[in-house]
Each structure stands twice: as C-alpha cells, then as structure tokens.
C-alpha cells in the first residue's frame, strides 16, 4: 500500500506532458484554445488543493486571488504598458499581498469562519471592480491592449509548460517535509502545535504559495484572453468550478486537480448543444463523481495501479 514515489509520479507526469505538447501538430486551434484555458484552470485547482487538501482550510475565494492577479496585470498594462513579464510578476505579487492581508485575520478564526471570510473577500473584490469602472472596466470588462503572442500553438505551449512547472513545484512541496507538517496542521492543529510546529506560520505559507500560483496563472490567462471580466475571473461560480475540479480530480493529490479541470472544460464544451442545460449536466456528473468516488479521478487511477 505504499504510495508511488514522488520522483516516479513526476516522471510519469513529465512523459504525459511531453506527449501532449505535440498536440498542436494534429488538432485545431479551437481545441488548443480550450485546452489552454483548461490548463490555467488546472493551476487554479492545484493551488486550491494545496490549501484544502493539505492545510485543511476550505478557501471559498480562489477567485479573490486569481482576480487580483489578473486585474493587477491587466490594469498595469492598460495604464503604463511596461513589459508583459513585469505585469505578470506584478499580478502574482499583488495576489500574494492580497492573500496575506486576507489570511492573517482569517487564519485566526476557526472552522467555517475561514471559509466565510474568503467568500466575503470575493464579493468585496467583485463590487470594487464593478464600482471603479474607469480603472477596471466595470461590468463590461477590462480590455488588455497587449498579448504575449497570437499563435494558438505558442499560447498552448506556454499554458502547458506553465502548468507542468507549477504542478511539479506544488506536488513536490506537498510530498516534502513541509507538506507533511501542513497535513498534520490541517488534521489536528493542537497536536501539531504540541509537536513543536507553528501551525499559523505553516498555514500562512501555504496560503502565500497558493496565492502566488493563482495570481500568476490569473495574470497569464488574462494576457491570453487579452481581456478580464468579473464573469471569467472573479464570479463565485468560477470559484465553485475550481473547487469542483479539484475535488473530482482527487483532493489531496495536487495533480488530480488538472484532470478535474480538463474534465470540466471538456464536458461543458461537449455538452454545449444542450444549451442552458449543459451546466446542469456537468454539475450533476460532478456530484455523482464526488458521491461515488470520493478519491476522485486520481484516486481511481492510483488505486487500479496498486491492484494491478
């Protein structure tokens, strides 16, 4: 029953990424576009899983971090047109700063209150974006003048390799001593404290790391879409989709979150002919997965491997 070694999982994942990186040779730009979005979603979901699956904190506001990253990068580009990499870096840093401001007080409260605090943060950000329309584009959305590249294939590769690197870092972290302490803090904070671990420090670190990757992914995705709107980056439903992706992918697995994200995006595309019904069907399927396979896709994969 030993779980597969960290290096082995990373090697298998790398092999899959390399194979998938040849997709632009064979599939249409439209599908590449979908996958590009799915990969960014995968990073959102992985970052969320680090907080929930390991630190044990349910963050209902992943979009607070993502939105902060996306809008910071976009607004900066709108106002001053610095190099794009600078906008992206600023987006990631802003998400970290926002994450710290949110987490410091939120981590002091216990249980469901942390989740509620993060939920309220999303609403505040959403309202701010709507109200400060001259700066943020308000309800219409923010147009971002620059793009990294207009090539579908290049955008696809950027998203894919960004996801691969983020996944490798988050996964390695989750399997490291720090990941172990995080799990202990998440499961039993009293005991972790009695073993000499500063629980708040570790949870805060997890929040910062989660915020960094969320903000970075948000900023990159904003440049890919060359726009940012409340509906794509901040709305509560986006956050819920991220959470569903992480859970059906397999919580506490980090990498499973990517499978969940691709599943969600692919499904809503395949079911598009159903019109308004499509979201309903996707969510119903997610519910079935959560109820029948609490280990998620990744849990199913690793389980069959262990038996075989």
């Amino acid at each position: 029953m030993r779980s597969a070694s960290t290096t082995r999982v990373l090697l298998i994942a790398l092999a899959v990424v390399i194979v998938v990186s040849f997709l632009p040779l064979g599939v249409s730009g439209y599908i590449l576009g979908l996958l590009t979005i799915a990969y960014y979603f995968g990073v959102f979901a992985m970052a969320w899983d680090l907080l929930f699956g390991f630190a044990g904190e349910v963050n209902f506001g992943p979009t607070f971090l993502i939105g902060t990253g996306a809008y910071t990068a976009g607004i900066l580009d709108n106002l001053y047109q610095p190099p794009i990499w600078l906008c992206v870096a600023a987006g990631a840093l802003a998400a970290v700063a926002g994450g710290v401001v949110l987490a410091l007080p939120a981590l002091r409260v216990r249980g469901p209150y942390f989740g509620l605090t993060t939920l309220v943060a999303v609403l505040i950000l959403q309202n701010y974006v709507v109200v400060d329309a001259p700066l943020t584009g308000g309800e219409i959305g923010l147009t971002i003048p620059d793009v990294i590249t207009i090539s579908d294939a290049a955008n696809y590769e950027i998203a894919l390799w960004f996801m691969a690197v983020s996944g490798a870092v988050l996964f390695a972290l989750s399997r490291s001593p720090v990941g172990l302490i995080l799990q202990a803090s998440g499961q039993d904070a009293v005991q972790a404290g009695a073993l000499g671990f500063n629980v708040t420090k570790h949870k805060l670190a997890a929040f910062i790391i989660s915020a960094f990757f969320s903000g970075l992914a948000g900023a990159l995705m904003a440049f890919y879409l060359s726009s940012a709107s409340v509906g794509t980056f901040i709305d509560i439903t986006v956050g819920v989709q991220i959470i569903i992706a992480a859970v059906i992918g397999g919580r506490r697995t980090i990498l499973g979150a990517v499978l969940g994200a691709i599943f969600l995006i692919a499904m809503s595309e395949l079911l598009r002919p159903l019109g308004d019904l499509s979201n309903f069907v996707v969510f119903a399927m997610a519910l079935v997965v959560v109820l029948l396979f609490p280990g998620g896709f990744f849990g199913l994969l690793t389980r069959s491997k262990e038996h075989g």
Binding site: M1, R2, S3, A172, L173, S176, P177, V178, L180, I181, Q183, A184, Q187, D188, V190, Q191, A192, G193, A194, L195, G196, F197, N198, V199, K201, H202, A205, R252
Partner: protein
C-alpha cells in the same frame, strides 16, 4: 540548572465561563521522577496538562520548564523548549505510514526544509525500535491494533527528546500484557532523566509506576504523597469510595401486569456475520419495574437494546404490552415511548445544556416542556447551574446526566440506559445513582439498565439478568446475585 525541578507549576488557575476548572494548582516534577496526577472525571486534571503544554491559556499562575517561565506561550514554543505530550486519543496521519508519522515529529519547524535530513530516517527507525514498532513501520495506522496506535503517540512525543513528558491516561484501553510493556517503557523514559507527569483516574492503575501521587478534586489539590499515603488519605477515600451495596428490590408479584409484561423479549437471536451476538435471549420487564442487565464488554447488552429499539434485524419476538414491535421503525418505537440512552451519549456539544433539553422536549406543548425541565433540574441540580453552558464543556459525569435528562424530556414509558457509568469516577456514579433512586421512587417510569459495574447496577434493580457470551446465564433478585453469582462475577 540542576537545582531546578524540571517542571514547576505554581498557583495555576483556569476558568471556563463561570466554572473554575483549575484552582491555584501547585506541583513540581523533578528530573528522573514520575508524578501521578489523579482525580475523578471533571476534576480538572486534563486541563492542568493542557495548561502546562500551552494548549489552553492559564488565567493566572506560573509554569516553569527548566526554570523558564512559559505560562501563556503558544504550545509550539513550549514544545521546542522541551515539553512533550502523549494524548489519550491517538490521531495519526492516516495516509502516511507509521515510519512517516514518526518522521513528522522529527522535522524542524522550518519552511525552508524541503528535503528531510538524511539522518531523520535512521532516527525514526531507532525510536520505533525503542517503543516496539519495528515490525509495522510500513503499515498505515488504520490497519494497526489500538496498542500500536498508542505506541505511535509515544514515539512522536519522545522524538524531540523532551525533558518534561506529559502522558494522559497511559493505560486506557490496553490489555494487562500491553500495560506491563507500557509501564516498562515509561520507567525507561524516567531513568533517562526525564520528568514524567502521568494523568489518570485512580491511584491503583498508576501505583506501581509513580514516585509520588497528587490527587485532585474539582480543580483543587486534595492530597499529595506516595501512592500508599494517598490511598489511605481520608479525603481521597471519601471522594472515591461510595457507600456499600444496599438493595431495595420489589418482588415481581407486586407489579400489576404479571400476565402480560410491559415488554417481553422471547428467544431473541442476532447474528453479526458469522458471530452470534445474542442466542435465545428471553427477558421481560413489568411496567414500573427497574431491571438491570449485567454483563462484561461484548456480552451482548448493547445488541439487545438495539434490537428492542428497532435498530437491528433479529429472529424471535419482542412484544410491547402484547403487541409485536416487528416491522415498526426505530423512530416509531422511540416516539411511542421506548427511549434509549446509548453509550456514546450523542449530545449536541455546541448547543447549551438548556437547548439540548429543549430539543428533547420538542414534541411537548411549551407549558408541559417547561414543567418537565423544572422537574429535571430538581432531579439533576447541577444541570440548572450549567444550563447556559455548551454541552461539550461539561465534565463526563455532567454529560451523562444531561443525556439521561434529555431522554426523560421525551417522557419515556421505558428508559433504556446503556452503560451510563462508562469512564466515570465513583463520586460521579454516586450522583447519578442518587438521581436514579429518586427517579424510581418519585415516578412510575420503567427502566432497563445495562451495566458492567455491578455496584452501580444492583442497588436500584428489582430484578437482574446476567448476560454472558450472548446468552442469559442467570436471572433473579439482586440479593440473590451476590450469593449465587457474586464471587464468579466480581
């Protein structure tokens, strides 16, 4: 530093709301010494331990570890200064192996340590060998027996080489062989020069091990000395020892429903897979009667009660006032007045005492509910004092009283009590016992009590059944029990 006791506690006080859990507690444990901190449930001994470890913040007083004042520090700092705790309930990481669980305790509190020290593995294995876990290093905790889970807790606690070691109820749930092995281990830890504080219910369980004993009662120290001295102490004896057994059984012929008893269980059989949990069990209870079912753990008491409550499939017949209960749902049976207080207590711990009671009286009209609560407060005066407190903050005995009181809010015809004394200290038993006695004398309630503790089960009973290995092996009056069964059972 040699002149310091390793652990010095002085004037330590902790209040929870209006309840003073620990009152000006003073104790010292020297290096190479084991101090037993004993006290009945609710005496505050576990709170003392949590205060020392920084899990709860003291309201007043001082805690010094090797001369350093740590009162009010967060627990991770106290841990790093050299204190370790073995919790009563083991809560290992279930997705990790035993070895990884021990390694966890060896990790530094640093965010920058992304790779474990290569020596960590070796040290974890050495600790595992010391506590006797070498054979199961690669197993997951869920697959291990209880004693091994306790060993994991000890291993984690000693991984950081603490100079002060706190152990909560070291032998709870262990067999006598396991207890002996554990005692040896604790002695070794003392002989390494550590200060060890053992917390337990009674002196007997730790007498062999401790150098000194300190007895607590309702937050205060009542005695200190060698195990013998404390056991001889008058106050301690009064707190721990209840009165002698007196029985007040009413003869069976005095009940009016002699021909058709209120509840009649005939040839009851229950299987759990291949195991026979009950075999041809027949018992009956008259209206207004107090019947005790006595039996050791695993004899089938809970199974019998669950069958009566409609929670289990069974063969045989259970009749209430002549009508078979077969086919009725558990909810119907309970609503019609057969109410079970299960072993687990099942209180709503975040709700107040009053809210728990109100919930039990949901189906009653408001006036009747208020009347019932007033009556219950007379039966259990302590609940009146505690009514605004969350149920989870009550001591074990108070929780048990609340459980019984909540069941009584449903105005049961038959009250089934499953092991109400589980884990309770003698002084609490006496309080519950008195309440049951008043209940018996002032109401016409019918009670079916399941107990291991004979001294608790006999005094109130009109009749006694002895359940052994799924069968009723004896039935009779409590006076006859001592003569016919007593020597074998006690």
């Amino acid at each position: 530093m040699a002149e310091h006791a390793h652990l010095e506690v002085d004037g330590l006080t902790k209040r929870f709301g209006g309840l003073v859990a620990v009152k000006s507690m003073t104790l010292n444990v020297r290096a190479g010494e084991i101090l037993g901190l004993i006290g009945p449930n609710g005496s505050g001994k576990s709170t003392v331990m949590k205060l020392i470890m920084g899990i709860e913040r003291p309201d007043a007083g001082s805690v010094r570890i090797n001369g350093t004042e740590v009162a009010g520090w967060p627990s991770h700092k106290i841990a790093r200064l050299g204190a370790g705790i073995v919790f009563q309930h083991s809560r290992p990481l279930h997705r990790q192996t035993v070895l990884e669980n021990i390694k966890l305790a060896l990790l530094p509190d640093k965010l920058t340590r992304l790779l474990a020290d290569p020596q960590t593995d070796e040290r974890a294995r050495a600790i595992a060998a010391r506590v006797g876990l070498s054979g199961v290093l690669d197993r997951r905790p869920a697959t291990l027996p209880f004693a091994d889970l306790r060993k994991i807790e000890i291993a984690k606690a000693i991984a950081r080489n603490p100079q002060v070691l706190l152990i909560d109820e070291p032998f709870a749930g262990l067999t006598s062989t396991e207890t002996a092995a554990f005692s040896d281990l604790i002695c070794e830890l003392r002989d390494d020069g550590r200060a060890v504080l053992l917390v337990d219910h009674n002196v007997k369980s730790v007498a062999r091990l401790v150098d000194r004993v300190l007895a607590m009662y309702v937050g205060e120290r009542i005695a200190e000395g060698t195990a013998d001295e404390v056991m001889r102490n008058e106050t301690v004896r009064r707190v721990y020892l209840g009165g002698s057994i007196e029985t007040a059984a009413r003869p069976e012929s005095s009940f009016r429903d002699r021909t058709t008893p209120f509840l009649e269980v005939t040839d009851l059989n229950v299987q759990y897979g291949k195991a026979q949990a009950l075999q041809n069990v027949s018992i009956h209870i008259h209206a207004g009667e107090f019947v005790s079912v006595v039996g050791l753990n695993g004899a089938g008491k809970t199974t019998l009660f669950n069958a009566i409550s409609g929670l289990l499939p069974y063969l045989g017949d259970i009749r209430r006032e002549g009508t078979s209960l077969r086919g009725q749902t558990a909810a119907t049976i309970a609503r019609n007045g057969i109410v079970q207080c299960s072993e687990g207590r099942n209180l709503f711990t975040d709700m107040t005492v009053r809210e728990n009671l109100d919930l039990g009286g949901q189906h009653l009209p408001a006036a009747e509910s208020a009347e019932q609560i007033a009556w219950l407060f007379e039966l259990f005066p302590i609940l009146r004092e505690r009514q605004k407190q969350a149920a989870g903050t009550l001591s074990g005995g108070e929780q048990q009283m609340l459980t019984i009181a909540r069941a009584l809010m449903m105005k049961p015809k038959l009250l089934i009590l499953d092991e109400p004394t589980l884990g309770l200290a003698p002084v609490v038993l006496e309080q519950i016992s008195k309440a049951l006695e008043r209940l018996r004398q002032t109401t016409d309630i019918t009670v079916l009590l399941g107990e291991q503790n004979v001294t608790f089960a006999l005094p109130h009973a009109d009749r006694v059944y002895v359940l052994e290995h799924a069968r009723v092996v004896w039935e009779g009056a409590p006076v006859a029990f001592a003569a016919e069964m007593g020597t074998g059972y006690l």
